[in-house]
Symmetry: D2
Subunit: 504 residues, 4 copies
Amino acid sequence: MEFEESGIGEECGVFGCVAAGEWPTQLEVAQVLTLGLVALQHRGQESAGIVTSDGGNPPTYMSHKGMGLVNSAFPPDALLKLRHGNLGICHTRYSTTGISELLNCQPFVVDTLHGRIAVAHNGELVNSRALRKKVMRHGVGLSTCSDSELITQLLAQTPPMEELDSPDWVARIKNLMTETPTSYSLLIMFKDVIYAVRDPYGNRPLCIGQLVPISKLHSSGAGEEDTEGWVVSSESCSFQSIGAKYYREVLPGEIVQISKHGIKSLNVVPRPEGDPPAFCIFEYVYFARPDSIFEGQMVYTVRQRCGRQLAIEAPTDVDLVSTVPESATPAALGYAQQSGLPYTEVLCKNRYVGRTFIQPNTRLRQLGVAKKFGVLTDNFAGKRVVLVDDSIVRGNTISPIIKLLREAGAKEVHIRVASPPIKFPCYMGINIPTKEELIANKPQFKDIAGYIGADSVEYLTVEGLVTAVQEGVAAMQDHMGSKKSRVGHCTACLTGKYPVELEW
Amino acid sequence: MEFEESGIGEECGVFGCVAAGEWPTQLEVAQVLTLGLVALQHRGQESAGIVTSDGGNPPTYMSHKGMGLVNSAFPPDALLKLRHGNLGICHTRYSTTGISELLNCQPFVVDTLHGRIAVAHNGELVNSRALRKKVMRHGVGLSTCSDSELITQLLAQTPPMEELDSPDWVARIKNLMTETPTSYSLLIMFKDVIYAVRDPYGNRPLCIGQLVPISKLHSSGAGEEDTEGWVVSSESCSFQSIGAKYYREVLPGEIVQISKHGIKSLNVVPRPEGDPPAFCIFEYVYFARPDSIFEGQMVYTVRQRCGRQLAIEAPTDVDLVSTVPESATPAALGYAQQSGLPYTEVLCKNRYVGRTFIQPNTRLRQLGVAKKFGVLTDNFAGKRVVLVDDSIVRGNTISPIIKLLREAGAKEVHIRVASPPIKFPCYMGINIPTKEELIANKPQFKDIAGYIGADSVEYLTVEGLVTAVQEGVAAMQDHMGSKKSRVGHCTACLTGKYPVELEW
Amino acid sequence: MEFEESGIGEECGVFGCVAAGEWPTQLEVAQVLTLGLVALQHRGQESAGIVTSDGGNPPTYMSHKGMGLVNSAFPPDALLKLRHGNLGICHTRYSTTGISELLNCQPFVVDTLHGRIAVAHNGELVNSRALRKKVMRHGVGLSTCSDSELITQLLAQTPPMEELDSPDWVARIKNLMTETPTSYSLLIMFKDVIYAVRDPYGNRPLCIGQLVPISKLHSSGAGEEDTEGWVVSSESCSFQSIGAKYYREVLPGEIVQISKHGIKSLNVVPRPEGDPPAFCIFEYVYFARPDSIFEGQMVYTVRQRCGRQLAIEAPTDVDLVSTVPESATPAALGYAQQSGLPYTEVLCKNRYVGRTFIQPNTRLRQLGVAKKFGVLTDNFAGKRVVLVDDSIVRGNTISPIIKLLREAGAKEVHIRVASPPIKFPCYMGINIPTKEELIANKPQFKDIAGYIGADSVEYLTVEGLVTAVQEGVAAMQDHMGSKKSRVGHCTACLTGKYPVELEW
Amino acid sequence: MEFEESGIGEECGVFGCVAAGEWPTQLEVAQVLTLGLVALQHRGQESAGIVTSDGGNPPTYMSHKGMGLVNSAFPPDALLKLRHGNLGICHTRYSTTGISELLNCQPFVVDTLHGRIAVAHNGELVNSRALRKKVMRHGVGLSTCSDSELITQLLAQTPPMEELDSPDWVARIKNLMTETPTSYSLLIMFKDVIYAVRDPYGNRPLCIGQLVPISKLHSSGAGEEDTEGWVVSSESCSFQSIGAKYYREVLPGEIVQISKHGIKSLNVVPRPEGDPPAFCIFEYVYFARPDSIFEGQMVYTVRQRCGRQLAIEAPTDVDLVSTVPESATPAALGYAQQSGLPYTEVLCKNRYVGRTFIQPNTRLRQLGVAKKFGVLTDNFAGKRVVLVDDSIVRGNTISPIIKLLREAGAKEVHIRVASPPIKFPCYMGINIPTKEELIANKPQFKDIAGYIGADSVEYLTVEGLVTAVQEGVAAMQDHMGSKKSRVGHCTACLTGKYPVELEW
C-alpha cells in the first residue's frame, strides 16, 4: 500500500526515558529521546516534540517542538536546550488540526496547583466532545483541539476527596480513566516520575525497555544493577536503536510508574465485565514497523502468516508472486512460500521522489505513479503475475500500478490483499477516509477487479486475519507458561463492531 | 538612549480592527492589521500574532503567529489564511518568557463553553501570582506564563449569577477588572465584536481611530456615513499609515464595544476613591513614537518641553548642543532653543549595524559602540559640547560615546538627561533591569560624571518632568472646554510610589 | 552496501530535453527536466542545476542552481524563471570541490565570441591537469576546479582553421575529443541545439529517449509524427517517469545533435586502433538504478546473474540466504535461486534515519548501524545465514551488521560479495577511497572473515563478474541481429588495468 | 531623498585588510573584513563576499559569498571557514545582473598560470563591451556579465614581453589600465599582497588606513612599530569601526602595494595630457556616509555647505526650515544657519517599514508614503515650511510627502534641493534611471512645483555645487602646505560632460 495517496493516516508515537541512579547520570536523555523518536517516525511525520525534566524539586522543564521530521525539527540549539534532562517524554504526530499548527504539538505542558506536568498521548478519546463540554462547563478555556490538552485539564482538576497539599496523581489518573474508556496510551511526566498508562482496552500499544551497557545488551546476564535507565515506547522497534532490552508490555488498563528507582506497577483499571481487550489489529496489518513485537510476536511474522493464509484462501494460477514495495513484502513472501510460486520483484521504488514544486499539467497527471516506481520489465514480461498488497483503501494507487505492469508486458495481473476490506471509520486514533471514499463502500466494489483493471482481486477474510494474528499470541503464551489473559483485537474498521458504544 | 544595550525593555503593542457595514466589506482587515502592527513595531520586535474572525455565527477564526519582525513573521501564505476576516486583533511583543517561545505569543485564543474568544494584552497584572494560584486552585492547568492566558481563563469562568446559555461578557470583563486593578490595555474578540478595555488607572495607552475613505481623511466633513471601519491601537501613530482619523482615547476603566455597527461605551469601572489615574510617564519619555498623541498632546512636543525645562534647570556654558541619535533629538532641540546655543550633529548612526555573528575579541570589545556611530569630527573638534540624552539606565552606552567624542577632539563633554534617574523596578509592564544594575543605585552614582567620563552630568527633576508632561494636558483640556478629569501619571520607577499596593 | 559510510562516491547525472515542433510547444521543458533530475538523484545529491533556452536568435538562457536534493533546490520561483525554455540541460552532482560550492555547480554557462553555451558533464577528464595548464598558458583564468569549466574554455577557443563569423561547434567538439580521451558524457547546449557527446571509450553511460503522448507510450505504433520532444539522459530509468520511450544509446565517441527537428548523428570519433570500449563495470554493480538499461540489458538482471554466478563460485551450507537492503537484493535473490536455499529477510531499514544533529557519545558510537536497521530476529534466530552484499569497500559497515545478527541469535553468518575486491583508485569519475583505506589493500584482508567477524567471506571473481555482465550484451546483440560491435568494460578499480595510460 | 523609490542605485564598496608582522598575527582579519563591510553596507545591500588568503607559498584561499545584508550573508560557519586568513579583500554589491545572482558576486577568484588571484571592483568600465569582445576573440569564455571577471581575465593574459615563470603583476595591472581609462577602484589579491588601484581619473574613492592598538588610536604618537595591519576601503567611515587611523587616499592612477611589510606606492599611471581628475560629485551629494572624508574634507561639511549655498541662491520667506530625514539633514541645517530661520522637524521615520508581503489594494496605494513617515503635526500646523531635500530623481517620493504636510495643516510647502537636476545617465557605476524617467527631462519639469504640488521648487546650481565641494578641497590643500594637485569632479549626470569619450 502506498501511504501518501491512499489516505489512511498513520497515527502518533510516544516515547519516554528515565535515567537510572543519581544525578549527574551518564546517560544523555535528550539523545535517547531523539533517537527513540526517529525510530517511531513512521507513526507520524508532521511534527515532533520533546520535554525533559531535570527531576529536581522544584523541577526545571525544558521543551522543544518543531514541524516536520525529527531530524529537521531538532536543530543543534534545540538539543542543547534539552540537554540537562534526567528524564523526558516525547511525541511524533501525524494529524494536523486546529488553527495554529505548532500549538497543537505534543507533549502538552501545563502548570497546575501542584506543579508542572507534561503529557504525551497516542490515541483518540471516543467521548472527547462530551469531555470538552464538561471541562468547559467547569469554566476552563481550551486553547487547542487536541485530546492531550483535554487530558491535562482533566488531570489538573482536584478530585473531590483529595487533600490540597499533596496531589494524588494516581488517583487523578484513575479518575481520568473512569471518565474515558479508550483510546489512549499516555505518558505523564511530573517532576522525577513518568506515569505510563494504557487504556483498559489496550487499544494502542505501549511497552517498556531497559537501558543497559551496550556490551551487555545481548547477554542474558544483565541484572538490575546494570540498568542505566528505562524507556517506554509505542513500539519496541525503537529499543534496538538506543541500546535497550525489551522488558515487557504495559498491560491494558495498567498504570506503571517509571523513575530512577525503577519500574513499579501501580494499578490495573479493569474493563467492564465481559469486555475483551481490543488491541488495534491494523497495527499488525500496516502501521507498526515489521521488527516491532506486540503480544509476544514479531509484526513481520504476523504479516508473513497473513500472506500464507491468503494463499490458502485465495490461490492463483500464475507464474510469479510479487509485492508492492515495501510494506507488502512480508505478506508477498508468505504467499510465495505457501503457494510454491517463485517470488520475483517487478517494481523498484525511487526513494527520492517526494513533494516537488512543479505544477502538474495533464501530461504529468496521466503519468501518475510512474515517477515513483521503476518497472523491472524483464522480470515479468509475458508472464502472469500475482501482486500482493497489504491493504487497499481508495483503490487509486493500485490501479495505475496495474496499468504500468500491463503496459510493460505482464500477461495477467492478479491482486491479492493481505487484509479484509476497510468499510467503517475509526474513532480511536486512525485517520481513515470517510465511508464514501472507501473503495469497499462504493458501487464499483462489486466489480473491483474491473474497476482497478486487475484480472482478479481477492481479500483476506476477517476470520483469516484474526487467526493469523491470534495464532502467535496463543503460541507465545503457552510457551511462556504464564497465566492466559484474554485475547482480543479491535476490528471495527473491518466489521463495524466497536469495542465501546459510541456517544455523540 | 541606545535601546539595545541599556536594557530597558520596550513593552507590547495591541491593535484591532472591525470593518463597518455588511459582509463582504471592501476593507481588507488582514492588511489593516498588518500595517497597524508595523506601525507599533517599536513597542516589541520579538514576535507578532494576528487573529481574525469572519464574524459569522458560529464564527470562523483564523490565526497566525511568528517570531521576529512583522514583515518576516507574516509571509504571503500567512496573510492568505487570514484574509477572510471581517474583524481581528493583533499583538506585537517584546519580552520572552516561558519554555516555548511561540507558545507565549499573543493573541491568546481559547474555546469556552460559549464559543471561542481571543485576547491581546499590553501591560502586566500586578497580582498575577495570586491570580494564577486562584485559577489553578479552581482546577485549571495553565500552559504558559503569560498574563493573557490567565486573563482568558478568568474570562472563561462563569460568574456566579450568570445564566448558562447566554454569556454576559461585559459582566465577565467587569469581574476580571475587580480581580486585578492594573496594568492592562486589553482587546477581547468574541464572534463579531471587539471589547477594548483599559484598566481603571489608565496605566497603558489605548485609543480609537475611524477608518474613512482616503480622500476624506483630512477633510473635516467625514461623517458617520463615511466610516469604513474602526481601529483601536496602543498608539495613534498607527492611524496615519492605515488611513484612519484619530477619534478618542479609551478612558481609564472604560469598556468600549466595537462592532460593524460602531463604537459603544459600555461601562467605566471606577478607581478606588481618591486614587488618581496613573498613565505611565515613560511612554512620554522614551517608549512611544514621537508622532503619537496621548492626553491630547503630541509626544514629540512633550519631549521638546522636557529639553527646554532641562535647559532651565541645568544650563551649561558650552559652544554647542547635540543629541544621541535618534530618540533624544526632540529634547536636544528643546534644550538648544531654550538655551540659545547652536544645535549641531556630532554623531551619525550606521543604520546597518545589527547582530553580527563575529565573536568579539579584546580588540572588538575595546572598540565598543564605535561601530554603531560615525563621529562628525569637524563639527565639534576643539569645542565644548553638551550632549542631551533621554535617559541613562546602566551608563554603559553613554560612557564610550563620551570617550569617542573626546578622542575625536571635543574640548568638554557635558551630559544633560531629559528625565530623572531610574531607581525602582516596574511591575506594570516595563522591563527595567534589576535595582542593582541601575546606575542610579550604584555607589558610583555619587560621582556619575567621573564614572562615565563626562565634565558634568545633570538630570531633569521629577517635578520638572511632571510639569513638562502635565502642562500640555492642562492646556489641552482648557482649550477643549470639557470637564476637567483628574490628571495623574505613574512615576513609580523614579519615585518608588506605585499606584496600587503591591501584593507578594 | 551502505553508501553513506562505505565511501564510494556516487557520480553525477546529466539530462537534457528538447521540445519538438514550433514554439510555443505544448511540452513544459522545465517540468520534464526537473522530473528527469529527480529520477537521476541516486547519482548525486549534493547540488542540482538546470539551464533552459528559449531557442531564439539570439537565445535567452534561464538558469537555476541549488544545493541539496532536487526538490529543495528548486523552489516554485526557480521553476517559474525557467519556464519559458524550449530546450534545456541539467545536472545533479555528487562531489564537492573548490572554494565555493555553488560556483562549482553545473551546468556551466559561458559567453563566447559566438554566443552563450551551456555544458553539463558526467565523468572526469584523465588529463585535466595538463589541460588546465594548457588553457591557462593561453592566458585564461579558471574560476573553478571543475572539468566543466575547463571544457567550456576549450570549446570557446577558436580552432586554427575556423572562420571567425560562423563557429563550427562540431569541429570544436571533435577538437576537444582529441585533446582528452576519457571520461565524459557531455551535453552542450547552444541556442536551439543540444549536442550529446560520449567519449570514445564510452566510459560513462548516455542514452536517448523519445517523448510521445502518454496514450501512445506503450503502443508500438508511435511514429515520428507523434514525437513531442527528445530527451537524453545518463540512465534510461528517467524515461518512465517523464513519459518517454527508450530510443537508443549514444555510441562511444558519438556526437549526436538534438533539436526540435529531431535526432542526427554527426560523427563518431574513433578510439586508438586496438582499444576496446571501456564502459564502467561498476555502473552495473552498484551505481545505476536497477531498472535502467545499458547495452540492451536491464541492470537488475545483471545483478541477479552476478548472484547466481556467486552461488556457483562460492556455495555455502546454510539455512537461508539474505540481503543487506536494498541494493544487494537482486544479487541475493539470484544466489537463492541458484543455490535452492530459501530467501529470507533478516534486516529492515529505518527509512527515516538520516543526519541528526545529536553529538555521538561513546554509547552511540557503540550502537553503530543499529539505528539504521531493524533486526527481524524471529526469521533467523538459531539459523545459519548467508548474507549477500554487492560490494565491500572499507568493511566498516558490514562488520557491525554481522555483530547485530549474531547478537540476535544467528548461528552462523557467512558473507558473499557479488563483485570482486576493489583495489585501485578510479580516475574516471568515481570517488573511491584512497588505496590505503580500501579493505582489500589492508593486511587484515588475508583474514577478512576474522576481521569483520564473519564465519566466511567470499567474493565474485573478476572473470565471473565480466561473464555475468557480458553474457547479456552478447545475447542481446545476437537477438537484435545487428552488427556486433566490440564489447569491453573498464575494470580498472578491480584489476588496475586502466583503459588509457595515465599522465601525471 | 528616499532611496528605495527614487531609483538612484547605490554603488558598490570594496575593502581589504593585511595583518602586519609574521604569522600567526594577533589580528583576526576575517573580523576586520566583516566589520569593514558592515560600515560600507550603505553602498550596496544585495550581496556580499569575502576572500581571505593565508599568505603562504602556495597560498590557501578561503571564500564566502552570500545574498543580502552582511549580517545575514555571513553566518557563523562562513566566518569560521575564513578564519585563517592573514589578508583578505571583500565587496558589497548593489546591482543585480546576469542569469545567476550568486555567480556575479564579488570578489572574483581565478586560477592563472602563476597562481590564484582575487579581484574586487567598484565602478564600471566605460569600454566594457569592446573589452569583452576583445577577450572573447582571444578564445576566452566569460561566465558572468561582471566587469570583475573581465578584469581577472585581462590580468590572466600574459603580456607580450613577460617571462613565463615570474609574473609581473604590476606590468599586467598597468597594461589593464591602458586598456580601460575609468571607472574603477580595484583591490587585487595575490598570495600575500593586495594591490590597491584607482583609475587615472580617480572617479571612485579609495583610501588607506592604519590599524593600531585601540589604546593608541587617537594618540598622535602611534608610530610604524605600532602598526597591527593595514586596511584599504572605499570610504574612511569604515576605519572608526575597526580601530584604524586614516592614513591617506590612493591617488588617481596610483598602484599601491599593501603587504605585511607595509605600504608601497608602485606607480602612478597618468591621465591623458590636459584631462582633469573626475571624482564623482554624487559621492558628496548622496552616496557616501556623512562621516567619510574625501579630498581632505568631511562629507557632512560639504552637504552643510551645499545647504548654505542653496539658502543664498534660493531664499524663501517662510516660518521654518525642515528636512526629509535622514540624508538631507546636513543640508537642511546649513540652510537654516544661513537663512536664520528655525530648524524644525516635521517628519519622523518609521524605521521598521520595509518590504511587507501584503498585496497593495487601491486604498493602500492611495496611502503611499504615509506608512513610512509620521507627521509631527503640532510642529508646523498653520506654518509656512521650506523642506530641504538632497536630490529629486523621479519626483514620486517628494510629491506625497508634500501632500501629507499640507493635509496635516502646513500653510505653504516650498522645496529646496541641495543639488542640481539630474539629466544624464551615468556610465561609471551609478545606477540612474533612464533619461525618460528622470523628472528633469519630463515636460512637466517646466512647472515642477505644480507637478509635485509645492508652492515653489528651487535647485542648487551646478556652479553652486562645484563651489561648495571645491572650496573645502582648496582650503585643505593650502592648510596642508603640500603641492597643489589639480582639482576636478565628474558632473556628467548633471551636465552631460563625461570625463572620457564614450565608445559604443
